[in-house]
């Protein structure tokens, strides 16, 4: 049984069913379809530009699979290889030079544009601020002296992607039960004595299933239980005395419909084959703009780390987490309009929020087994771009335990226990701007 049919749950379900065809695999989710929770609220970008070897392997192989799917197998998952463009000051460029070198050495394709080259391609970009610009000096805005471009990066459609995995899973004979909510895990002794209060400390016990409500009701037992509940991982695991290792934080996205002024920004030839504006990251607070020319809109956002509270046990109803108009106004828009003046009067016509599931230890995902349950999560906002690899790793753990090596789509091997906690061994990410 797999609890949680977000992008991580559905990829794991597919890979497990695919490699264990004789096993009955049931995928349950409290929503009415796959990826209706935080996956649906995601910015849905992908990139391979990481310095951590683990991030590189997990993302690169996943992206290769997605591209192969769309380009060779002609299954449309909405991929647009727009690239990412990090705009930086001289100081930021020089601070990041060794990271770029490290990526290049490991085959992660990046290109550094000079300030002039960026300005040629995005003429409306404000690359420098006059000393008399009070706003800019108050906000301590850095100039744009260049940009780092990641080529194997872009956007995709998480709904199409999730449906692809679901369909394959169903074709293999996998079963689903939507509108089904896991309430609590069943922790039961291996040899039950039928005495009240079991399991006792001296009994060998493990997670044997979960109590479900909704379309499927009652105590449901399975040979193995896999949990992929994202922000709700602790809610399910903590009562059983197992730590879920995630911390939830609200993240917001604001959609701006393109107007006459903004239209020119949607397409900026010279970066990618599409002629589209790459996913643009400004030199302040991770403020970004995602151009979607086909629907003539931009999605914008930025990172509020300090001051944005961690949520212990998030509400089940994601509508509790609303995007805040004043967050757009005073935080995000204040930056955006300075670098891209055509956003001056831009106001969002739609806004939404979702929850990141942070693994605050090293911000890399985890796949571990404890008390008989396999847990996958902690993707810290990059679940979609690593999902295929994580699904394969969950399957290897399921089949062979944490001493196993998973084979990624790229053919590379990945030692499962590196992503666990008992022997965690991952390279920290340094590409944090």
């Amino acid at each position: 049984m797999i609890i949680g049919a977000g992008v991580l749950g559905v990829t794991a379900a597919y890979h497990i069913k695919s490699n264990n065809p004789a096993k009955s695999v049931l995928l349950v989710d409290r929503f009415s379809d796959v990826s209706q929770g935080n996956t649906a609220r995601s910015n849905a970008m992908f990139r391979n530009t990481f310095t951590s070897r683990d991030n590189q392997l997990l993302a690169n192989s996943t992206i290769d699979f997605y591209i192969d799917l769309q380009e060779k197998s002609k299954i449309d998952i909405g991929i647009r290889k727009t690239g990412y463009l990090w705009l930086m000051s001289e100081e930021q460029l020089s601070r990041n030079a060794r990271h770029i070198e490290k990526m290049e050495k490991r085959g992660i394709e990046t290109k550094v544009f000079g300030g002039g080259q960026v300005k040629d391609r995005i003429p409306s970009l404000c690359t420098d601020f006059a000393p008399t610009d009070e706003d800019a000096s108050l906000m301590n805005l850095d100039p744009v002296d260049g940009g780092v471009f990641g080529a194997k990066c872009g956007r995709l459609d998480p709904s199409k992607l999730s449906k692809f995995y679901l369909e394959r899973f169903l074709n293999l004979g996998g079963k689903t039960s939507f509108n089904t909510s896991a309430q609590e895990l069943l922790l039961e002794p291996k040899i039950p004595l039928d005495i009240e209060g079991e399991p006792f400390v001296w009994q060998d016990a493990s997670i044997t299933g979960a109590s479900l409500t909704g379309d499927l009701q009652g105590n449901f037992r399975a040979g193995r239980v896999l949990l992929a509940c994202g922000a709700w991982t602790n809610e399910i695991l903590w009562p059983a005395g197992i730590d879920g290792h995630v911390k939830a934080k609200k993240r917001q996205l604001f959609k701006i419909a393109s107007n006459e002024k903004l239209a020119g920004l949607l397409r900026c030839p010279g970066f990618n084959n599409l002629g589209d504006l790459p996913f643009l990251i400004l030199p302040k607070s991770g403020c970004f703009a995602k151009a979607i020319p086909e629907s003539r809109e931009f999605w914008v956002g930025c990172d509020d780390n300090l001051g944005r509270e961690y949520i212990d046990i998030p509400a089940r109803d994601l509508d509790e987490y609303k995007a805040e108009p004043q967050y757009y106004e005073r935080n995000l828009h204040a930056i955006l309009r300075k670098y891209l003046p055509q956003f001056e009067n831009a106001r969002p016509d739609r806004m939404w929020a979702g929850l990141y599931s942070y693994n605050t230890l090293d911000y890399l995902p985890f796949v571990f087994e404890e008390g008989g349950i396999i847990v996958i999560g902690g993707d810290s906002g990059s679940g979609i771009m690593k999902a295929d690899s994580l699904g394969r790793i969950a399957d290897a753990l399921y089949r062979e335990g944490d001493g196993a090596e998973a084979t990624l789509f790229s053919g590379e091997r990945y030692l499962v226990k590196k992503l666990g906690f008992a022997s965690r061994d991952v390279e920290r990410e340094e590409w944090v701007i």
Copy 2:
């Protein structure tokens, strides 16, 4: 300002004041004195028997300081060097042989007793169970084939220890404010603009103080804030968007008054200079017995990991966490009476519970700085035995940042950032039985 005057807060306060005599240091706590929270509810044991080099350094040096205090400086902190005795089956002994070897190599004194030697010294111990013993086979109880004895281990009085640090801190001119509760941290911009909603994402901001209630009231600002709130770390940090990295779990202790039958067990010569029974750990579920001959009592407990829930934000009132009579009865006593039959009719006349602050990443403590606040915690139940070292490390971080090396009481140097999260580098503990 140091928030939290448990054993970690008061040692940090002392070391910081001691090495920065010109600084005003204020120690605040919501209780009316030092160490009235979980420190007071602790089992108050200490040991240096760890395989992790970091645990060894932190504990060994702390214990050296405590012993020096009592033996050389003649300051009574209630130390009794009873030793720890882990009773083990053949299989457990053999599984742990390499750990014992590792400890010996690093100068951690251990001694392995054979089954006969243990039985000679604790004649009432049941070292084997007949195949007809239904209870024992149901509970899957291991025989006692020997014991591993840690010599530089024992018990102390956490109240006396904490009062020693407090007195020294006060003598140096440190200030305290008890009955003072920290409600929330103040997160403020370096350059305030006096606009509602500050700090904005584009402002440089940090923790500048806390809002206090009780004997000291209002927004209190300090040059630096250090947090040592144990189980309540997340409650204070999460609203500011900083992770506290602890998870609380209830732990219980049961006091058994000695009767005629039990009296013989309080003293078992042949292990330590006191002639007392060492702190005894049975081969099942970490079940232990602590003999206190001077007050003719035993404290007993055991570990319920799986099935004992993690608590997200613990109640401020520790009385919410009660020891459970049926936990004693069905879990702990069930084991105890099998190995030590004189506990057959023993019932606790006092019982209490407290909260462990687990760092579920590696179960070692942390000392880190984020957003301008220094955080110390995650001791996972071994705060007292590492407190002096952790206080010195917090001081080094305060004075020189996380690139600093702290000098421990033993004279050994410890790189501060090893205990942080950004560059965490600790050896995992393997001595977990």
